[in-house]
């Protein structure tokens, strides 16, 4: 009832005439990567071919990923390695790159960021010209918390940036809190994304960046500005680079609460692929609920795999 009344999205299988029409009308497609184009190091069968046909048809292809542990350069290299159409770094919108863009624009000149994150995040900040300190293991001035709380604070720091950080520790959390407390509202708190888990092959998972963001938010008793999906900042980055029209853009993803939600919120056509973390049952559950928040997780269309688009892209 609620779905029809609200003109809600219907999650129809994208095939046949509907597929030809939707793909024909689209000028640009934004792709999430993990679970859509590849799983780990293995490309989804037929995905490269589908993207090849889309590129040949003149569609703008961009890649939008919450993963903050790789640079745009590393993504273009992976796309090349797995046989996808040639891409340049400017086509890739990773949360590390977008966080660096955000800070370049939000920080006063000369201000630095204290970073809980990977070398890749540091590299993107470097490339964006944002002074920063922090990636890697904490440099501890002594063995005890009492020592850490006395370590001098860099006077230039006006932001704390939290990304995926396998060197995350209490000492780094402590330092982040000290910067946030010193700066108050004048010190930005930015997170690359809220994903709580990174799936690995075989069903296991490791904690995601969202856990680290939550730790900092809890200690500091404030909320971070989140760069990644489902928030719209990454989409704004795509628009500023390529001037795409939301009404002629399709967002393709495998997660409802990041890819599809962002796409829906930004007025894009949304396409769910089932090669990643989401099942059709989950979507049905949201569709049948009366809750508007859950309704906004429902995509316009779905496919079992993006390889299913090939028939609609034939010549």
């Amino acid at each position: 009832m609620a779905a029809a009344a609200a003109g809600g999205r219907r999650c129809r299988r994208l095939e046949g005439e509907a597929a030809r029409a939707a793909l024909g009308a689209a000028e640009a497609l934004l792709f999430d990567c993990d679970g859509v184009l590849w799983r780990g190091e293995a490309a989804v069968a037929g995905a490269a071919a589908a993207l090849g046909r889309l590129a040949a048809a003149g569609k703008r292809l961009c890649y939008v990923t919450n993963n903050s542990s790789r640079t745009r350069g590393a993504y273009t290299e992976k796309l090349r390695r797995l046989g996808f159409p040639p891409a340049e770094p400017r086509h890739v919108f990773g949360s590390a790159y977008c966080a660096a863009r955000y800070l370049r624009q939000a920080l006063p000149p000369g201000a630095a960021a204290y970073v809980l994150g990977s070398a890749a995040l540091g590299a993107e900040l470097e490339a964006a010209g944002v002074p920063h300190l922090g990636p890697g293991p904490a440099a501890l001035p002594g063995p005890a918390p009492a020592d850490w709380a006395q370590a001098p604070l860099d006077p230039a720091v006006r932001a704390v940036l939290v990304g995926f950080d396998e060197h995350f520790s209490y000492a780094k959390l402590c330092l982040a809190l000290r910067y946030l407390q010193r700066g108050g509202a004048a010190c930005l708190l930015v997170g690359t994304n809220r994903d709580h888990r990174l799936p690995l092959e075989g069903g296991a998972a490791i904690p995601g960046t969202g856990c680290l963001v939550k730790a900092v938010e809890t200690a500091a008793e404030r909320e971070a500005f989140i760069v990644g999906k489902p928030n719209r900042y990454m989409f704004d980055c795509v628009v500023s680079e390529f001037n795409i029209d939301p009404a002629r853009t399709i967002m393709v993803g495998d997660r409802l609460d990041t890819d599809i939600l962002m796409g829906n919120n930004c007025g894009l056509t949304t396409l769910l692929t089932l090669t990643g973390v989401t099942t059709l049952e989950e979507v049905k559950g949201h569709q049948e609920s009366d809750c508007p928040a859950r309704q906004s997780l429902v995509p316009d269309y779905y496919v079992d795999s993006i390889a299913d688009l090939l028939p609609a892209l034939g010549d």
Binding site: P145, A149, C174, H196, P207, L212
Partner: protein
């Protein structure tokens, strides 16, 4: 709703007179860092002479009860015995013991199992003293070893991403409990800076595992249950004295105790007044009945 009235003069005697006992938080109430709050040892002495019970209930999960007993003595508080002290470390160990050993041993498939503790030696010692076994760091999350039946999150200044990942591995088993010693987001340092508390680490584990932790410490009432079990206090004749509105004062409210906020610690009077002025029902529960600048101000309320 509680009135947040300054306790002084005749009011002091009216409130303290009928009280049979007082529960005190420790950090920010009795001491700040390595310094006793001036007059605090004398207050406890006078309470003892007046025949009032004094008990201590602390969310600080760093120290064992034995360490706390020595701390009391070192800071000039005479005659405080371990049995009067209820720390979140001790109570968490008790909680786990009851849940895992309480029904005559585990869930049937081989004993109570092990506990993965995110915390220091004080906390680990309390868990061992409760008769429970600890899982080591860096061990694989599954395999032939005795299953891990609980992850216990406490104040852990050696917390790492690797330990977070290890904890999540154990928590994939829905039978594995997730317990936190306390919810405190941060603690004050003597120079006014803040250091992250258990609450921030628990938030990371909850987010990664998709589970909610059972929180032993204030404002939850489990520690009061431990106190009642050992001493049988009457809430209507017991006062709760603390410095943190969101834990101590709410704890008092939840346990049916009258509450006194002391201003030598975390919370400011303005915060209590803001809660009082708020429209939210939850905020009103954070308003203390009374406040004092320091617990030394309670001394005149006692007979000589």
């Amino acid at each position: 709703m509680a009135g947040c009235r300054r306790l002084s003069g005749a009011g002091l005697r009216e409130v303290l007179g009928p009280a049979q006992g007082l529960l005190f938080d420790c950090d920010g109430v009795l001491w700040a860092g390595e310094r006793a709050v001036p007059g605090a040892p004398e207050l406890l002495e006078r309470l003892r002479r007046s025949g009032k019970a004094t008990l201590f209930v602390s969310n600080n999960s760093r120290r064992s009860v034995a360490e706390l007993e020595r701390r009391f003595s070192r800071l000039g508080f005479r005659g405080v015995r371990a049995e009067q002290v209820f720390s979140s470390a001790f109570c968490s160990a008790l909680f786990l013991r009851q849940r895992l050993l309480g029904n005559g041993g585990g869930d049937g498939d081989g004993g109570p199992g092990r506990i993965f503790v995110l915390g220091g030696e004080g906390l680990r010692g309390e868990v061992r003293d409760a008769g429970l076994r600890l899982a080591g760091e860096g061990e694989p999350s599954s395999g032939a070893a005795e299953p891990v039946r609980a992850v216990l999150v406490g104040y852990d200044d050696q917390f790492t991403f690797a330990k977070l990942a290890q904890a999540c591995g154990y928590l994939r088993d829905p039978q594995c409990l997730l317990v936190a010693t306390d919810p405190d987001p941060w603690h004050p340092l003597s120079d006014g800076q803040r250091t992250p508390g258990t609450g921030s680490l628990t938030a990371a584990v909850e987010t990664a595992s998709g589970r909610k932790a059972l929180v032993v410490g204030k404002p939850n009432t489990y520690m009061f249950d431990c106190i009642v079990e050992r001493f049988g206090v009457d809430p209507s004749r017991t006062l709760m004295v603390g410095d943190r509105l969101e834990t101590d004062i709410l704890f008092g409210k939840n346990c049916g105790l009258s509450t006194i906020l002391t201003l030598t610690g975390v919370s400011r009077l303005e915060e209590a007044q803001a809660y009082m002025a708020s429209d939210s029902a939850a905020a009103k529960d954070l308003v203390p009945n009374y406040y004092v600048d320091s617990i030394a101000d309670l001394i005149p309320g006692l007979d000589d």
